[in-house]
Amino acid sequence: MTEMVYGAAPVRAGDPVLPRWWRTIDKFSMAGILGLFGLGMLLGLAASPPLAERNGLDPFYYVTRQAMFGGLAIAIMFVTSMMTPLLIRRLAVLAFLASFIALAMLPFFGTDFGKGATRWYSLGFASFQPSEFLKPVFVVLCAWLMAAGQEVGGPPGRMWSFIVAVLVAGLLVIQPDFGQACLVLFSWGVMYFVSGASMVLIFSIFGLVVGAGIVAYNSSEHFARRIDGFLAAEVDPTTQIGYATNAIREGGFFGVGVGEGQVKWSLPDAHTDFIIAVAAEEYGLVLVLAIIALFLFVTLRSLFRLTKERDPFIRLAGTGLACAFGVQAMINMGVAVRLLPAKGMTLPFVSNGGSSVLAAGLAVGMLLAFTRTRPQGGMSDIFGRGR
């Protein structure tokens, strides 16, 4: 009767969003990511004033800017991580179409900022790099295609995803941006590997990548010069790598002290590609190891959580995102210690820069969404634990 008089109490379909989010989100990974963002802000305080000074701006111009973009990125991360995998998939596919078109239009409307590669759209107040946004949504699209291909009677999703990957990589190579192209191919390869590729195929792909590298070395001067610089026994100390290596040496175990670093004055990319060198010089090996540990922690924890995932789409998408995140960090730091050839690649969340940090927020948000605890049909799900 009560219902008939007062109307039914509104029934909610499922749990309220926030409590369920809080209950199922991977809080440790999220803490790690926030920690990385905090370190990025801290290093931005050290690394960006020289740049601001060169550009005749307020010393902390880039810091406030980073805080603004970083705040936005955190917000994007939170919102994205609250979405359901289905919603993410739908939005990501749309976003992929949009960013793919943006990428394809770069040769006509993009700018190269005098760096020899047309990668950016200049929006006046900020620059926008479509490939940064393309990466995470590309991963989601490929995961969708591959997962669909695994279904009985599904479409040939792997082949389709491969075609997409080659197209994207091709567009990136045109810019030229071999780093991102490699990253895209790598993400696809990892997903393909996890989706159950035959070992024979993996090895042939590996061979193909090596072959492509040789072709790139022989055909592109840009690429060849970087490789040559890496292979040369003696590092020319007046290159960025030379400065970075020296900065790490200067820093030692505990750094030269906050604000005492010199390398940020010499390196044009101190606040982005070589921020780890600034960290090493001012705060020493301790902070560098902490950063490495955080990246490793986030990547490994995500991968281990995904081993329990039943849904192939979620598993593949999560794998792709986690590996792209980890590999980008790995390449960035590997370059600074000369384990890898010089390659312009930002350190996710730590490096300063507008579209880079926003895209990182988006990617990590999706990763957190995919690693949320879900019922996996195990006994613990049936008895109601872990929801």
Binding site: P237, N246, C323
Partner: protein, 595 residues
């Protein structure tokens, strides 16, 4: 879904039997199969994800490890490493010392100055200051280099400490110093030809190779640069004897108006070269460039003692006599017909001054009779003469430890004719270096065993092949003593040292060929001392000397080379520890007080 039917088809059959739709059951079965497939794939994916995780762990550990390695290594100045090969540049070079351990060549730490214009704060100021400190630098050029896009340039290869301080005071971080080992010859031009000199080889910022360019430095280059053999190289030279030799030879050259001179003192038993000089000389600290014009033999760089091959004249008569004596053809008292001129075809051999028509062999040598010597050579014959000279090493370059040794190749006629035999018997037609002569005299004077000259300190006498008998050697020594005591080399008499020797005055051949100059000679004295128990052989050779104190200009060796040799012996013999053989002084008039 807890209960799994044992046989899936059973339920369908039952449903069909009841006439129910089998749709739901089939869908459920499909769902089961799907679940199973997913579970299987999850298992495989879990394995692969763990593999990925392991890869990431390994990669990040490697990066962390490399970070730690870098962080624990020392920082370097940002300097440009040289673009040379991977072999490290070793700048160490062993010292060279004389037989008593006195330093002949050593190293000094200096610095080179280079610039990295990219690092410069104020290139114009730096260029101004550098041009002030080093006036020889071109100011415009410096400014152009510093403001251009050059990344590296050498400014000076060596700078003094004072200059270094001045450059340091400019205070520009783009001006940098690289350590350098500078090869230093503290005795200046002393023994210049023997030491040779050195220069920089491969050069890097942090070091440069010092390589020998001539003489001992070049011959022993590998030994001196060997990092595992950094003990000094001990030469046979005696620095004081060398100094006396060069001083006396230099004065003699001036007094006798010669254009060049060379002198050698060599141990007759060990072959050690105690002193070897060639004038004019140079300073190996600042080795002059090779001459581009004129005869290379007139350059200060030319080592007359070793590289210069000359027809040395009558000094060769001693070898002819030794060969004939040893062959038993003559003895010192055999009378030789010295009546001249001796004609052979259209050639006439005559003597420079009038002498008896026949003399014993010893007098033939003492009076230096060309005719007499040629007659002895006729007794000897071509084959024996050639074999004898060859056994003395007169037909091959010397084996001495200097880079230039192979260039001192003796010259002799290809067709060793009867006439050649006769002229060679008194030292014409065969051109050898003074060092050849020294080795030959050492061999015939030391008792007859072959001596090979050496520049390294020896521990004992050489045991060479026997060339002539001891008896012949004794006879030759007494003949040579006679030349000094009452022959052409009487000015070589040094009281107490019993000098023996032979003079040689050879007219110089005209360079363009065809005959000899009448007013240009090579005057040589080749001696041994003490003649009764020889220890050293001395060669003094003057190029185009002319002694003008008398009414007639005198060019013969007896008036030019011999007095110089006597002075060298007078001064050096005591230095080499030779005791003068003085007459026993028996003071008869002194009696002991007790008697």
């Amino acid at each position: 879904m807890i209960r799994q039917p044992l046989r899936p088809l059973t339920r369908i059959l039952q449903a069909r039997a009841k006439g129910e739709s089998t749709e739901a059951i089939e869908r459920e079965n499909r769902r089961h199969r799907h679940e199973e497939m997913r579970e299987k794939m999850r298992g495989r994916a879990a394995l692969r994800l763990k593999f990925l995780a392991f890869c990431f762990f390994a990669a990040f550990s490697a990066i962390g490890g490399q970070m730690a390695v870098l962080a624990s290594s020392d920082a370097e100045e940002p300097t440009i490493q040289s673009a040379e090969g991977p072999a490290p540049i070793l700048s160490d070079r062993a010292d060279i010392v004389d037989r008593n351990g006195r330093v002949l060549a050593t190293n000094m730490e200096t610095y080179s100055l280079y610039a990295q214009p990219q690092q410069m704060i104020d290139p114009h100021f730096a260029a101004d200051e550098l041009a002030r400190i080093f006036p020889e630098l071109d100011h415009e050029r410096l400014v152009a280099d510093f403001t251009g896009d050059r990344r590296f340039l050498w400014i000076r290869r060596q700078i003094s400490p004072e200059q270094m301080q001045q450059v340091h005071d400019i205070g520009d971080p783009g001006l940098l110093f690289g350590p350098r080992q500078m090869r230093l010859y503290p005795n200046g031009s002393l023994a210049a030809h023997i030491l040779g000199g050195s220069s920089y080889g491969r050069e890097g910022v942090s070091s440069a190779e010092v390589i020998g360019v001539a003489g001992v430095e070049r011959y022993f280059d590998a030994r001196l640069r060997d990092p595992y053999q950094q003990d000094p190289l001990e030469l046979s030279l005696d620095l004081t004897v060398q100094a006396v030799m060069e001083e006396v030879l230099g004065s003699g050259m001036v007094l006798m108006n010669a254009k060049g001179a060379s002198g050698i003192i060599m141990d007759v038993y060990t072959g050690e070269i105690v002193a070897m000089a060639s004038l004019p000389d140079f300073d190996p600290n600042d080795r002059p460039a090779l001459p581009t014009s004129g005869s290379p033999a007139d350059s200060p760089l030319f080592n007359r003692s070793l590289q210069g091959v000359y027809e040395l004249g009558s000094v060769f008569k001693a070898f002819t006599a030794a060969a004939a004596l040893d062959a038993g053809l003559v003895n010192p008292n055999t009378i030789i017909n010295t009546e001249g001129p001796l004609t052979w075809g259209r050639f006439r051999i005559s003597d420079s001054h009038r002498m008896d028509p026949s003399m014993p062999v010893s007098e033939v040598i003492a009076e230096s009779s060309n005719v007499g010597t040629a007659r002895i050579a006729q007794m000897l014959g071509i084959e024996r003469q050639k074999a004898f000279l060859d056994s003395l090493g007169m037909l091959e370059p010397t084996q001495v430890e200097m880079a230039e040794a192979p260039t001192g190749r003796p010259q002799f006629p290809e067709n060793w004719s009867e006439l050649s035999m006769m002229t060679i018997s008194y030292g014409h037609g065969l051109a050898v270096s003074p060092l050849h002569l020294a080795a030959g005299y050492a061999t015939i004077a030391n008792g007859g065993t072959r001596i090979v000259p050496t520049l390294l300190r020896q521990d004992g006498p050489q045991v060479g092949e026997r060339i002539i008998s001891r008896q012949t050697s004794d006879q030759i020594r007494s003949i040579l003593r006679g030349v000094v005591s009452h022959g052409t080399a009487s000015l070589a008499e040094v009281p107490g040292y019993n000098v023996g020797g032979k003079t040689g005055t050879a007219e110089k051949p005209i360079e363009t060929g065809g005959g000899y100059y009448s007013d240009k000679v090579i005057a040589t004295f080749s001696g041994i001392f003490p003649a009764n128990d020889p220890r050293y052989v001395i060669i003094i050779s003057l190029d185009e000397p002319v002694e003008t104190s008398g009414p007639q200009p005198r060019r013969t060796a007896g008036w030019t080379a011999v007095p110089v040799a006597a002075e060298v012996i007078r001064r050096t013999a005591p230095l080499m520890g030779l005791r003068p053989a003085v007459e026993r002084w028996a003071p008869e008039s002194i009696h002991q007080a007790s008697q």
